[in-house]
């Protein structure tokens, strides 16, 4: 493709001048990083793929508002984070098996009957990751997204706030709440160390 050698800003200029195909170069350049963050936030491969498509579609629709002083990679990344956030928020609303906020962690295996092996079995089979995923599911959508961005993507509170459309302090509070809940739910692991 002709636009493969261009940088992002030149490519965007070409797209806005009518070269729709040039947008393909941006999609190909940034798909993998978007998939990575989408997967980490949604925790699901299929949802992550949908999020990537939706983010690029929304990005195209808003491309005329893109400010040339920004980085396209950062801009589309934020769109993907919002899409992922919408996705898990919608999923939590639909998910009838979702654990109640104040549920006793020891009872999770009963409430999450479809995915739940008991903690003992999980530990014995080395599936600590599955227990961590259960703990992550107990977070609200914003808490989960904020925590993932902080913990795995090394984003600052300002970056998390910008990505989630909230103030940096609110982003920081979301991370605090997430860490507190996760530590509470993963306390059994601490005893096994």
């Amino acid at each position: 493709m002709q636009c493969m050698g261009r940088n992002d800003h030149e490519t965007i200029k070409a797209v806005l001048e009518g070269d729709k195909e040039a947008y393909g170069a941006l999609v190909m350049r940034h798909s993998h990083s978007l998939f990575r963050v989408a997967f980490r936030i949604t925790g699901n491969e299929f949802d992550a793929e949908d999020v990537v498509q939706e983010a690029f579609l929304r990005g195209y629709q808003k491309l005329e508002n893109f400010e040339s002083r920004s980085k396209f990679g950062t801009w589309i990344y934020r769109i993907a984070v919002r899409c992922a956030l919408d996705r898990i928020a919608g999923r939590q609303m639909d998910d009838s098996s979702r654990v109640a906020e104040e549920a006793d962690p020891e009872q999770e295996q009963v409430q999450l009957a479809d995915t739940a092996a008991g903690p003992d079995r999980l530990l014995l089979s080395g599936e600590i990751g599955a227990l961590q995923e259960l703990a992550l599911r107990s977070l609200t959508a914003t808490e989960r997204a904020a925590f993932v961005l902080r913990h795995t993507e090394d984003c600052t509170s300002e970056e998390i706030g910008a990505a989630l459309g909230i103030l940096p302090n609110a982003a920081k509070q979301a991370v605090f709440r997430a860490v507190r809940k996760l530590r509470g739910r993963l306390a059994p692991l601490r005893a096994m160390r």
């Binding site: 797209v15 393909g24 980490r40 507190r180 996760l182």
Partner: protein, 259 residues
């Protein structure tokens, strides 16, 4: 000595703590112990790496969204170029219609005076068409909503589970008739994107609903692959996202019609 709060310890862990936090941790054994526990807990939290995407993943994403995008220049040209001429044409036609209506009104006044006061004039056909248009948009919205849910279920369906497959088939049968009505309407209003997506949806619903011998594991797997290859779920979502816009247009036209 004032100890560090858990929030301050978390800030410190993620490298956003104030300089005094570090100094305090060196001086206070209690806070240092709490920090070690936090560090240990958070270090344990390692998530599975995202599944690898092939080298052609970006290309695949592009192929799935490209048909839904319109070139910017084409839009602008249509607005400035075609739109200008079209606008002038509409203005001319409107002027002719107004002039015609005025003349017709002048000529028909004596006749109208002769008619009885109880005779109501027939309603203009455009007025009658407005509620119908709104109903079509609502029906389409509902249909796309249900179709999206069916496609999501199909996408995640366990092909071997009869409990899963049977409701899918029943829902597909129920959607098939509505889909045909929506297709006819899409053809009438000349919306090729909608018509194409509904055609693909029709094919899929037909296979789900009327598969000879019922749905088996192979058929479900094949349909899942076809659906993913076509990007059908994504297309349905795009079409759904256009509905609020269509509802707004329909409402605006309806308002104009009642003035």
């Amino acid at each position: 000595m004032k100890h560090l709060s858990e929030e301050e310890l978390i800030e410190q862990y993620y490298g956003e703590g104030a300089a005094r936090f570090g100094e305090h941790l060196e001086a206070c054994a209690e806070c240092a112990e709490a920090y070690d526990a936090l560090q240990s807990d958070l270090d344990e939290l390692k998530f599975a790496p995202p599944p690898a995407r092939g080298a052609v993943y970006g290309e695949r994403v592009w192929q799935s969204i490209a048909p839904s995008l319109h070139a910017f220049e084409a839009r602008r040209r249509s607005w400035l170029g075609i739109g200008l001429w079209r606008g002038l044409s509409y203005a001319s036609v409107c002027a002719l219609l107004v002039a015609g209506a005025f003349l017709a009104g002048r000529l028909s006044v004596p006749k109208q005076a002769a008619t009885t006061a109880g005779n109501n004039p027939p309603q203009a056909p455009e007025h009658a068409a407005q509620p119908q248009r709104r109903i079509v948009v609502v029906v389409l919205s509902d249909h796309l909503d249900r179709s999206e849910r069916l496609l999501v279920e199909l996408k995640h369906a366990d092909a071997g589970s009869e409990e899963m497959v049977s409701p899918l088939r029943d829902e597909a049968r129920s959607l098939l008739a509505a889909n045909r009505i929506c297709r006819q309407n899409a053809a009438k209003i000349d919306d090729p994107a909608l018509a194409a997506a509904l055609d693909r949806l029709d094919h899929l619903l037909d296979e789900l609903a009327n598969q000879p011998g019922g749905l088996n594991r192979e058929t479900i797997t094949r349909l899942q692959e076809e659906m993913n290859a076509d990007g059908l779920l994504f297309q349905v979502r795009v079409l759904r996202s256009r509905i609020p816009e269509q509802q707004a247009v329909s409402a605006a036209q309806s308002k104009e019609g009642t003035i």
